[in-house]
Every structure is written in C-alpha cells, then in structure tokens.
Symmetry: C2
Subunit: 80 residues, 2 copies
C-alpha cells in the first residue's frame, strides 16, 4: 500500500521560499502570478496492505517526523 | 484561478532526501516502510480566469523555473 503525503505551511505562517519563487516568476515576465506557497510532496511505500493499520502508522509518521505541526499542516491519501 | 503543481524526481534518479527520511523512519521504529520519494508541492495563484491561457502560462513556468526537467517530472491541476 502506498501513500501520498502533502505537507504545507500553515496559512498564517510566512513562506519565504514561496515569496522568492513569486519574485522570480515576476522577474521572468509572469507578472500576473499572485501568491505562491511551497510545500512538500512525499510518496511512501507503507509495506502493509491493512488500510486501518497503514493509516494509523502514517499519521504517527507525519506527527513525529514528516511534518512540523507547529508551522505545517499535513494530509495524505492511501492507494492500494 | 489557482494551480496545484507537483514536482517529483524521475523514477531512475536517486533521491537522497527520500533515502534519509526512509532511514530516519526505520530508526524510529517504522521498519515496515519501503521506498520514500520526496518532491515539491506548490500552490500558485495564477491571476487569470482563462483556463487555456492559464494552462499555457503554467506549463511555461514549470519548464523554465519550477521544475528541473532533466531530473524532475511535473504535473499540475487547475482550480477555479
């Protein structure tokens, strides 16, 4: 079973990387571009086929390592 | 119109960041975890409501700045 995990910076937290990309896009002529927010996208092979177990383990991984829940949100999708 | 962009490392390219996370998960007791691949996830405010135009501009941004197409793939979704 595989998981796709999306880790994003919370809405009220500054995203300097996103601001830098926005500035670069403007410099390159993409002036119409508004806010840019950058997060992480992870694909993980969970090594189990038990969906409930996989979900429980994955939530623990996100809380403990993959996301810094002080400033980041996470969500995930499970795939068979 | 907003876009979600996913930038991932090509399948045959090494992902040291993913390997490091896999190792860390094993160390933390998540021994069942297999391959981990890490990419970027971007949310971009495109500043236009013309879907065809937005898609054309977004593809150009991906090719020129957001993804390194030598070693990365990208895909995107447009949202009204």
């Amino acid at each position: 079973m595989k998981a796709k995990v999306y880790v994003t910076i919370k809405q009220n937290v500054l995203d300097p990387q996103g601001n830098a990309v926005q500035g670069a896009l403007h410099t390159m002529g993409f002036d119409e571009v508004g806010k840019v927010r950058i997060g992480k996208y992870l694909e993980i092979d969970l090594g189990t086929n038990d969906r409930a177990h996989a979900e429980e383990r994955l939530a623990a991984m996100c809380e403990k390592l993959l996301a810094n829940t002080v400033v980041e949100d996470y969500r995930y999708e499970l795939e068979d």
